[in-house]
Symmetry: C2
Subunit: 468 residues, 2 copies
């Protein structure tokens, strides 16, 4: 049981879950997180599942240096302007002052694309679709929040180059589909695909698309993203190819990412007042088996529990908590806080009755299973997964409103995403930012009606929401 | 076919293989390598196989920050003395000068152990066995060699803590066994397990053990390593626990690593004058299928090749090179340079005769297979794997000598590892270093006879070899 309540004080609750579930802690470097094994295991599962899907569509992994010489970082003007305020610089190494400071990658376009310019010669070399899984540094000065905002995070960065704009645009749905499968099917988190406004897009991109999550405090959290870069970088880095007619062209590029921020969304969206709640598909441990015994029954119960664990581990990620040094009550609490989807209790009475007791983490219900049949357990895990997605979707539905009145919007946005019309002008966007500390997220929908700020004809349908 | 010969000019040959096989290239940052997809795929396989073995013995993965505050780095005296000359420092971030410079991890003891000191309270918290897969920076000034020596490399770093010295010592064989399975069974590279001399051990360790590889230029290359750290770090970082009797004790610690350097060993040990040669167990592509067709036979051959690929991909990592834009001859050459263990050719005549032609990369022999039967192919791949290990072992055997005479040693060490007696004194070790630019590697063997340098009774059996 936690001290804080999710509905009462979300940010206190969020910190307490992270601490008590043993997910992460602050390090000696402000804004840099220590990922404890339990959180890292969640990340490993996100990586493994996403990577499998990338490989299936022909993406190849590679690794580029951590460092970017200053001159390269500055090659694309909008890009450097966006990242410059957050760059960490290496100026000394091995007791020598460096001749040119080295940026620690905030993202790798500028260290990768000189290689792309070398590798891409003709249409035969296209498309080039590479990806890296690595760590990046963005020296933010806002208050750090574990997983959601920090100075170092882990992510994938996909960097692709195509011969034509059409091909590069076609990659958008392919990649966003993969990310949606990860966030929605795998992590049971609903997402809304939006286009960012000009002022919010990725520095250097032509257009930025993101999957946004509704957080319990009604902020819109930017999840995985996809950037159409057009020919901005290929022109800055001179990435040209000879087409089949022998004509030189600049390539069309995209970049896309999913990061450890998703762990923060996972904690926030599914957790409850008892701690973390993990959807079975992402859970590092899906089933924890807790033997209940006294000195007399110990060996019999442990041997039955081991048998059960061996049987279930063929199909599920299981953990038999047979540690003598802790009581069953302590263990119940521990695994509840850690959000393991299913707990199986096995004691002398269960053995006598040839059954096990199962406790669901998501809805706290208990049931008795006569025989621990993998099919029945798989069904139960699917039910848990579906229930968590449904609950999360219901929350979004209950807090997704629409409005045509600016004063109403102001009130609604405190605990809702609010759909509205927008004229497309920066002035109206800025007013929303300063007035009500909210942002506009463009939906892929035909606009009608009026801009909720200025009343002129709407060019876009947006939702308005607070953000971090 | 390469321009350079392995036996004639090893270092030129090594660079040419790396370039022509598309493994890596230099970046704009001196000493930092671009890992192209093919090299990175080899690293991914090393990581996956090693990680599986770590998890099986209960090692958990985690992630600690890239940065280490200066004060922490300096806590263990021998450690900082060893690494200080190679540290890269971040002194500025987001246009602000940092109050305290941040080291980029050359290794993570000093950022991890403050957490260990917090996490470890009682015997219940032990053993603690964590691992990270990450990137580290060591700002070397010697000439960089791709994979073998550079300023950034990828590795695992295991950091474990035990209640007793006995338990910590017992981990040595467990970890070195895993590393040997990876290097010998998986990568077909023989290794010699040695103990480093006092002057060569890891800064901060009590003793360092490594798996050494004999390189084609008869240098001893340090492969995976294991360090017994005793209580050096636990005393510096105050990592204490209450034992079962309520007494406070310092923990006993180990650290261990395998790095991207193994890719360099792999290239060097197995490669030949036609390019890279990959053992089937590590090869990202085990079998390449090359269809041979003209305009008339194209659709028939491609459809048969696809059928074959589909059939084989269930059991093997296969690639069907059906690119129209290249000729079969060009493809043969490409995959030969890339070291794919087995090539299968399929053309109209093969289809008519209901057979395929197979070409082994390791010994250049061709054979005809009447039906592409997975069992026969598996046997063939095993034969290739075994042949490569045998060849590599034969090379070591042919160049492993022993000597009792210092002048003879001087001559032999040019193209041999030379077993000899050593008194254990630093003076004799230094003489070998300065006289013949070679190092001593301590073998786990009972000494007899005399020190090859000074003639006093030998305390150790060592081999003497050049090193990078």
């Amino acid at each position: 049981m936690l001290r804080s309540k999710k509905a009462h004080n979300f940010s206190e609750w969020y910190s307490e879950v992270i601490q008590k579930a043993g997910l992460a802690e602050h390090s000696a470097v402000s804004g840099c997180l220590v990922y404890k094994p339990y959180a890292y295991a969640i990340w490993e599962r996100i990586v493994a599942e996403t990577d499998k899907k990338f490989k299936k569509i022909g993406i190849e992994n590679c690794y580029f240096p951590l460092f970017i010489p200053k001159k390269l970082l500055e090659k694309e003007k909008a890009h450097v302007k966006g990242f410059d305020p957050e760059v960490a610089w290496v100026t000394e190494a091995g007791h020598h002052k460096l001749e040119e400071p080295l940026a620690i990658r905030p993202t790798s376009e500028t260290i990768m694309y000189p290689s792309y310019a070398k590798w891409i010669r003709s249409w035969r070399d296209l498309p080039l679709r590479l990806n890296q899984w690595n760590n990046v540094i963005r020296w933010e000065f806002k208050h750090p929040t574990p997983f959601l905002r920090g100075r170092e995070f882990l992510w994938n960065e996909g960097h692709t180059a195509f011969a034509t704009e059409k091909e590069s645009t076609a990659e958008k749905n392919q990649i966003l589909d993969i990310y949606s499968e990860i966030t929605e099917d795998f992590m049971a988190m609903p997402g809304i695909i939006v286009k960012k406004t000009e002022s919010e897009k990725f520095p250097g991109a032509v257009a930025t698309f993101t999957i946004e999550h509704m957080m319990p405090d009604f902020c819109s959290l930017q999840g995985p993203d996809f950037h159409l870069d057009g020919q901005n970088f290929s022109k800055a880095f001179n990435i040209q190819f000879l087409d089949e007619n022998g004509k030189k062209n600049y390539v069309w590029q995209n970049t896309w990412a999913i990061s450890t921020r998703e762990i923060g969304a996972l904690i926030a969206i599914h957790g409850d007042d008892l701690g973390l709640v993990l959807p079975p598909k992402i859970a590092p441990i899906q089933i924890v088996i807790i033997p209940i015994y006294d000195n007399n029954s110990r060996s019999k119960v442990l041997s039955e529990a081991k048998k059960l664990e061996k049987q279930l581990s063929a199909d599920f990620r299981t953990y038999l908590d047979d540690r003598d040094k802790y009581t069953p009550g302590w263990k119940f609490n521990e695994w509840e806080i850690k959000g393991v989807p299913l707990r199986i209790e096995i004691g002398p009475r269960d053995i006598a009755a040839k059954q096990v007791t199962m406790a669901r983490r998501d809805n706290q219900t208990k049931s008795v299973l006569k025989k621990a049949n993998p099919k029945d357990i798989a069904k139960l895990l699917t039910a848990i997964q579906n229930n968590l997605l449904k609950k999360a979707k219901d929350f979004v539905k209950a807090h997704y409103k629409s409005s045509k009145n600016y004063n109403e919007l102001k009130k609604l946005v405190k605990d809702n995403f609010v759909e509205a019309g927008w004229c497309g002008l920066t002035g109206c966007e800025e007013k929303v930012k300063t007035d009500i500390n909210a942002k506009l997220y463009i939906l892929d929908r035909k606009a009608s009606g009026k801009c909720i700020v200025c009343g002129k004809p709407a060019k876009y349908v947006v939702y308005v929401a607070k953000s971090y």
